[in-house]
Symmetry: C2
Subunit: 722 residues, 2 copies
């Protein structure tokens, strides 16, 4: 059955849904005049930063495209019949298309998010339920845009590079469009780094002066850094994450298609190449239904008195069930072997497992967060030590989960090998790819939940700054807490899918190395050995060590950048308190724009060094130590990245929620005494949160992009390393 038509169709459906959602959000009530003023200031700051940042990124991307095009043009041997200058131009175009689409996803998603926050603030006057619906719909704009654009983009590039014109061209096309993944991850890296540094420098900097020194609350309009902080939520969490998930989707889809080529080579059935796109298309449709149900249908919507997370869980469950049904349909229609359906189910279950693990480690109901709160009773040192211990501990469960999922899906795939007349390795690796596609089916729903986070965070800020009544603030506080949970869950999901996808992306790289060697006319044994990454060889082991060191050094630069930019904001806010008279008495407004400007300049400069490190090291190592050592750098770098990002994401989330747990007034010591906001334990927890901020919102998410970038760089430049 030919199902390829579903790919553009689902993409168009998703974009129509985006238009509907955007229209629906934008027509809503924008709240009071004060709310609109605050929102307008945030909007201005966000647009100013985005303009400046994407200008820099555009320049860097164009330079990179030219360099890559030239490098690729000199490749003597490639895995396709396209070579020389034509290959260079095609790769450069694919790179730029990926870069542009990634940037677009980030920018539009952020635009709608910034427009949504004031509508959520407005809706909050009518209750939590309408506010939640507006926020989730606003978030969904970003989610569906990203996944829809990526499907359409890959489909169109595939079409343009001859993927539908015949069997041989279909074989070549996935290799030709890998440049798109590289372009997307290149932009995502800088977007996430710049945005992540911006958001946390502003947050940490304004908190340090405002909360700690001046003793005024968070989001207080007297703090000159407060608008920069609110802008930061958008440029980091929305724009950065949008670009990040765009590139993940592109890279993983293309990687899975490359693996499909190996089976296509035997079965001559082009469906194996299309399968990843088709299954993702159904996942997108399932997510549309999920979001629509969550924000519209009575059973799914928020019931009075209920936790705001519950409707989202119901919607997610619906999406997963629909995705499983669709997976069964697509597998039986296209692949004709039910084993791959079970592999897909493994992937869907993995996404559920990651939800549960992340909840356990970051919600205040469970031991980890409570242990941090408890340690805060004994001071800041114990809070930090315990938080780090929680972060380090929480790497085990995700790794074991991914390990089981990989082995199970590989085994399931390998069972189909005999029927397909391929080697067990080929079918097994494709099994892991199907599991990854299964895990990614609800991606658009997850991304909607993710952008929900900064929207409600901003809405809370607007309510606070506009001086709205306390009961409205209470509603937005509840949503804000849910937003923290969704942000943590989606980061866990992103890392989990990266871990699962890692194996398919390595395998795609090894496939490409083998294909290039075959094109060079090397002996069969050498071509076959391309699939071996032997840590017993000294240069391969050194490559592996360098991969781990790259991850740690990159994290260091990202964290240090936050610290350095935050320092500038601290100085500026202090200066304004000192030099502008009457700020504390609310007689004069601080100069928000200047603080925004300082943060933007600082973040933009600070993103360059870690970004160039991330791009440069894999290229240098590949050229010096060659293809197999490069594979080890990629693999062990990915493992280290997954583990360290998990420490940072969930550790940071746990610190944040330990602070919120104390602020909620529900935290009691052994003797039953409540320690709440303003207590010594709270002060210790605030420091922990400050440390966790660059962990979970700068270094952690940037590591996620770095892992993907390593995969796409190696895929595109593989021939240089042979």
């Amino acid at each position: 059955m030919n199902l390829v038509w579903i790919v553009p169709l689902s993409g168009v459906l998703a974009l129509l849904f985006v238009v509907y959602l955007a229209w629906d959000v934008l027509r809503r009530d924008k709240g009071t005049k004060e709310m609109q003023d605050v929102a307008a200031t945030i909007f201005e700051g966000a647009v100013a930063f985005i303009k400046r940042q994407y200008l820099t990124i555009a320049v860097l991307a164009i330079i990179a495209a030219v360099i890559i095009g030239v490098l690729v043009s000199f490749e003597q041997f490639t895995e396709t019949n396209v070579k020389g200058i034509e290959l260079g131009i095609r790769t450069a175009i694919a790179f730029l298309v990926g870069a542009a689409a990634s940037a677009l996803s980030g920018i539009i998603g952020m635009y709608v998010a910034v427009q949504s926050n004031v509508r959520v603030a407005g809706a909050a006057r009518k209750g939590v339920e309408p506010a939640l619906a507006v926020a989730l719909r606003g978030g969904a704009v970003s989610g569906f845009l990203v996944v829809g654009l990526s499907l359409i983009g890959v489909y169109l590039m595939f079409l343009a590079y001859g993927g539908l014109s015949g069997t041989e061209a279909a074989r070549n096309a996935p290799f030709l469009i890998v440049g798109m993944g590289f372009g997307a991850s290149f932009v995502a890296l800088f977007a996430q780094l710049g945005g992540g540094i911006y958001t946390k420098a502003a947050d940490v900097g304004s908190d340090l002066v405002g909360k700690v020194e001046a003793g005024i609350p968070e989001d207080d309009p007297r703090n000159a850094g407060v608008i920069a902080d609110l802008v930061g939520d958008n440029v980091g969490d929305c724009a950065g994450r949008g670009a990040d998930l765009f590139e993940s989707t592109v890279a993983e889809n293309i990687g899975a298609m490359i693996l499909g080529v190996a089976i296509f080579a035997v079965t001559k059935n082009v469906d194996w190449i299309f399968f990843p796109l088709v299954v993702r298309a159904f996942g997108l449709i399932a997510s549309i239904v999920g979001v629509w149900a969550t924000t519209t249908l009575p059973f799914f919507k928020l019931n009075p008195g209920e936790e705001p997370m519950n409707p989202m869980f119901r919607g997610f469950a619906l999406t997963v069930v629909l995705a499983a049904i669709a997976m069964y349909f697509v597998v039986t229609q296209l692949l004709g072997n039910v084993m791959f359906f079970w592999a897909g189910v493994v992937g869907l279950l993995t996404s559920v497992a990651f939800f549960l693990i992340t909840m356990y480690y970051t919600e205040s109901r469970w031991r980890p967060v409570q242990s941090i709160a408890k340690a805060s009773l004994r001071g800041t040192g114990p809070n930090i030590i315990t938080g780090l211990a929680v972060g380090l501990e929480n790497t085990a469960a995700p790794v074991v989960t991914v390990g089981i999922a990989l082995i199970a899906s590989y085994w399931l795939g390998a069972q189909a090998a005999a029927a397909l007349h391929v080697e067990p390795y080929v079918a097994g690796v494709f099994g892991t790819a199907v599991a990854t596609m299964g895990m990614l089916m609800p991606a658009a729903f997850i991304l909607a939940m993710d952008t929900f986070g900064p929207i409600v965070d901003n809405a809370g800020g607007i309510v606070e700054m506009s001086g709205a009544p306390a009961d409205i603030r209470k509603g937005t506080d509840a949503l804000d807490a849910a937003g923290n949970t969704t942000k943590a869950l989606t980061k866990g999901y992103a890392i989990g899918s990266a871990a699962l996808a890692a194996f398919l992306l390595f395998s795609a790289y090894l496939d490409k190395v083998a294909a290039v060697r075959a094109a060079m006319g090397l002996p069969e044994a050498v071509v076959k050995a391309s699939h071996t990454v032997d840590l017993g060889k000294v240069e391969v082991f050194v490559g592996a060590m360098l991969g781990a060191a790259l991850i740690f050094l990159f994290s260091s630069l990202a964290m240090r950048a936050v610290s350095q930019v935050a320092e500038k904001i601290v100085d500026e806010v202090r200066r304004q308190f000192r030099e502008i008279p009457g700020i504390m008495e609310r007689k004069n407004k601080p100069d928000y724009a200047r603080a925004v400007d300082i943060t933007a300049t600082g973040a933009q400069r600070a993103m360059v060094a870690p970004g160039l490190l991330a791009v440069g090291v894999p290229i240098i190592v590949g050229i010096l130590l060659r293809a197999e050592a490069e594979a080890a750098l990629l693999m062990v770098g990915t493992i280290a990245g997954i583990v360290l990002a998990t420490v940072m994401n969930n550790g940071g989330g746990a610190w944040d929620n330990a602070k919120k747990f104390i602020e909620s007034g529900e935290f009691r010591d052994e003797k039953g005494v409540v320690h709440k906001k303003g207590s010594d334990a709270h002060k210790a927890a605030v420091v922990g949160d400050t440390v966790g901020d660059p962990f979970k919102d700068t270094a952690g998410p940037s590591l996620h992009v770095l892992i993907k970038l390593l995969s796409t760089i190696t895929l595109v430049l593989a021939p240089l390393f042979i």
Copy 2:
């Protein structure tokens, strides 16, 4: 030329030197009555803990020996002609010998260290120079005991298992004594964990109540936890490190001998198997000269007004030069190929490079520590973020250094392949082994410097608690600062040598797997494939991920243990302040013994979980996922361990020295204002130090042992995983 006789000779020389040093230290003046009282209390506490801890360890070791003996007895195929129950008994005996010798090294070294501290305090009344000499000689007892015992132990076991009786037996013997390495690392793991938890729980706990809450200085006799803190320096830093370096020496020597077997198989020259022992023997003699010169000869001794580190650097330089000369002699006599001399020089240079890197990252003269001090001006959060950034950053230089050393020594070794008629791989791996031996030649000198640290730390505590005059305290403060540097340097050296040794230990494991497969009569191709560790296979990749996760989870448990035991001490010290009247007015003494007892019980319980995790996970993974995945667990676990231990050791050292830098009164902000002890910046730096303590003295050093344990477990139990 037969040089084997040098091995027992150098061991005996070292032991005679130990006796001389111990006699020399013990005959010294024990200072005032007050000093002796304090020292006696420390001594009691240390002995009590050691008794209790080693009793537990002995029970665990005997159980482990029985289990291992039984497991090994069931092995159908082995790499030697010894099998069945005989093999089981031999392995169990080797395990117990290694365990006993490791325990002995730790206990005697600590005994002399505890005896030295009061002599150093006494000598400090006459000046810094005699105090330094006593402390370094006291430390040298531990260093030479460990290295001497390990050489004699391996030599005797080798002799007992037929290593000198003929060529075939010589081939088998190294495999038969690997159990000794496992036993040694088993004991070292628990000793380092228990001691490390003890020392930092006592330190953090008593500081939290004393310095932070009650506002009394460190080492103040009114603090009930202060003796536990001083005891901790001995049981953690001396006993733990002694056991750790004993097992490192044993494991690395045996691993290198196993690699020698591969060359012996072709050349039939047994010198290739003895080479590692002989070269270490010369290194031991060079170290004896180095320590003797540093504490005796006019040019090398401390000059008036000089930094206490300088004489140690001069002594170290002398040792390295002598070692290089000896390396040339041994290589030309035994191996007859000068390429291996250059490989040895690479190792010696690596040890120097690690000294320089560690100094850069942990001394207050350079950017990293100064950046932490500077961040402290903006509060605790920035201090922690910057400290973590420094820790993460400082992984890059060591990894690049080890990478270059591995590739260079492999290349040098491979150049000798043609002359030896062996494969380049075999000669290359032996080249890395020679480099490792070169790096380890000055090990005894380094270990002397290491134990110097806790001795002068204790001496300072005794001077403070005995109420000695301020100028004596000034002298011991200078020595204490030098002790912090030596402790950091030796930890850097230990991790560096572990990283360099890792490759030879992996290769020894792979050699053993190949030997067992050959004994099973498997086809040549399968035997050869044993040297491949292919990350492209799904179960191997999962093994690699689990290796990284094990490292992180283990660190988490170690850090959490410190936090939990510290909590108990905080409660106890608070209770004593509350319930014992007149402590603060110095009318009544606190109950030190009870605090010591609580710490000991807590540390001993807390060490069990991480210890069992470390032993259990590699066995379970090996049995479930088999030999190749186990190799990946070992390799990637080692990489993750090296990187994380470097973060923790040097990050912790940098935090500590940032605090000391502020306390020194030399730290100025941008405007030139001095921020000294008691300032807000100092308070932030104290918290950073509290976080760094379990990093650098519990988790970091324990990770070092864990890496070695992984190597020895896999070496001993390899046949189970095939």
